[in-house]
Symmetry: C2
Subunit: 386 residues, 2 copies
């Protein structure tokens, strides 16, 4: 059994470069994890993902537990074997999706009851069940179940939520350690080297964030995530919370900012000490025709690209940019061809992953602050369409 | 400029193995051409097509002339450059799609007027315009415009249709030769080595087929297609017409059976002297979950595959079969993931193209009749689902 470990190899200001070792291989950080909700990154085969340089991807516990079911995946040997992905995998706890997708949710001390968005069937997700599901999926990194309160909420409601999340985190860790010790029957563990990350909540309140960090560190996990951000709060507030919270987390542990973000968010949050990211933005926007480039964003639907023989991004090494023109991609999009989604996704993921590679190199060279300023100046929310 | 040529290298009964030389490379025959209607084989990138072994693909004149437009594609350097496909391409004349997709069609001596299925805009397709469009697309093989009469039709109506098709074929050839001679201004020719095939019509009437062959040979083309079959007639009747018609076509020219067919059709029509095939069956059925295998067909939606860890076809070399289980493919299909369409298409095209490869090898070895009997016995319309 490979033990999970994390080593920071270089520092540059608040940014760190490091190496995450997992049972399915090594991941250089800071890293971006493409989202593979239902056992596939939409439109990508595993070889496509390897081609664009994905070192670790994310699977969604909520979706996979409903369909095809975590027990079925366990019988297949776990999610790696089921989807044919041999590199590291992280699974979320299902909490975020229960709170955003399922209907008729009721939360109490025990957990959350809800109805499936697929067929309305009733389900319950508890901290223990989220651990068990992820043990069956066999991801390399499992996340604890946290409560995601509806916003806006009163300070008192947020405080209660943070407290509940802390009690759930303790139960999650207890269950995880019982499973690791082989003390639970009836749960097939498909990856005995799985690590578990805790999640810091607390909205945009510095006090609640500090309290949540304290709770989470007191339990102790292999890594720490910052949840509940990138949900519509002002960007400066998000960066401030990331800075404040990351600064309270142990330097020796990986720090994962959940659900973020734009290319600028990646750079700005690396600057604030984040090591891991996931977001649907590059993949979802690709399917909607929005492409990220080294010169800004472009929407391939725009009529100005109808005769444009240049690649999406002349600076990009991806298959799409080295083989196809903007005009062709616009045509595929307009014609509703699924190849459009695949080619656009190949590009956006390459842009994200190459950006992370450039970030890692800059940190190693001690030029990250220069890189950051250049990047934000050239990429920052510019549109090439007008 | 590479001259188009065709050489039969081996014969085995009625079957022939040969080599087609085109401006974009050499194609071993008998060959199956995947259909890339709108400038892409749905869900496949050019590298996917190369990976499955596609030597030549088909593009649709009707669709491409409406969107993105043949003049736009010509400005891009032709369809090869536009779609990033460097191997040979065949384009149809647009006739079949006008008769099956467009609305408010009126046919007269001049050509066919119709309204676009995209936006209802009025268009006219004449034999000359079909030649011009394909000159702009720059395919390696262009097809003449033929009339596709609505069936059932009286013998008199079919005879009139065959006669009209013959007059259109003569006009098509004249226009093609004028373009080749550089005698037409206003048409950008993007492939100066393009060949043109005539089409034999005549439904299931041996007399009309014989007459149509006579007309078409009298004009003279680089190759000859058999059109108007695989449209619902009994299979034995289709095979009989293919046998009869192929026997009347010159031995030294390539013979193309348009729009067919099932794996059994390929084998049975190779036995009757056909060299080239195209059909949407492997790609369309893949997207609908129907997979062709060496043991018969299977529908991946079937609940019996939910826990099936075996590959779609244990005998298949494709990426899908060497990396994924039936259970995973069923999950992707049930979840509506576009990756399902891509992986299923990779498999079905590989099955079709590998079948053609086995056919070519058997012809070369003189064992085609044995191969045919074994193939039809093992594959023929069997379903693995029940």
């Amino acid at each position: 059994m490979v033990t999970f470990s994390f080593t920071v190899t270089h520092r540059d200001g608040g940014a760190r470069r490091g190496v995450l070792t997992t049972p399915h291989g090594v991941v250089d950080t800071p890293v971006f994890m493409p989202v593979g909700t239902q056992g596939t990154v939409k439109g990508m085969t595993p070889r496509d993902l390897e081609d664009v340089g994905a070192a670790i991807i994310l699977g969604n516990t909520y979706h996979l537990s409903l369909r095809p079911g975590d027990e079925r995946i366990a019988r297949h040997g776990g999610l790696h074997a089921f989807m044919g992905w041999s590199r590291p995998l992280l699974t979320d706890s299902g909490g975020y999706q229960v709170f955003s997708l399922a209907s008729r949710r009721t939360v109490d001390e025990q957990g959350v009851r809800f109805r499936s968005h697929l067929d309305g069937s009733p389900h319950e997700l508890t901290p223990e069940r989220a651990v068990d599901i992820q043990a069956r999926l066999g991801s390399d990194i499992a996340m604890v179940l946290d409560e995601c309160p509806a916003l806006p909420a009163t300070e008192a409601a947020l405080a209660a939520s943070v407290a509940l999340t802390a009690r759930w985190a303790a139960r999650s860790r207890a269950r995880f350690l019982e499973l690791r010790a082989g003390a639970v029957s009836g749960v097939t563990v498909t990856n005995h080297g799985q690590a578990q990350f805790g999640i810091v909540q607390g909205g945009t309140s510095p006090d609640l964030r500090a309290r949540s960090v304290e709770h989470t560190l007191a339990i102790g996990f292999e890594g720490y995530a910052i949840g509940g951000l990138s949900v519509g709060e002002p960007i400066d507030q998000m960066y401030a919370v990331v800075q404040e919270t990351a600064g309270r987390l142990p330097a020796a542990s990986p720090r994962y900012l959940m659900g973020a973000g734009t290319p600028e968010d990646l750079v700005e949050c690396v600057a604030r000490g984040i090591d891991m990211f996931d977001c649907v933005l590059p993949t979802r926007n690709a399917r909607n025709g929005q492409l990220f480039t080294s010169l800004g964003r472009l929407n391939i639907k725009n009529a100005k690209y109808a005769e444009d023989e240049s690649p999406v991004d002349p600076a990009c090494r991806c298959y799409t940019c080295t083989h196809h023109s903007r005009a062709y991609l616009r045509h595929l999009y307009q014609a509703g061809e699924m190849t459009a989604g695949a080619l656009n996704t190949l590009h956006n993921l390459t842009f994200y992953l190459d950006t992370m590679q450039r970030i890692r190199e800059a940190i190693q060279l001690g030029t990250f602050e220069h890189f950051r300023q250049e990047f934000v100046r050239s990429v920052s929310r510019l549109s090439l369409d007008s």
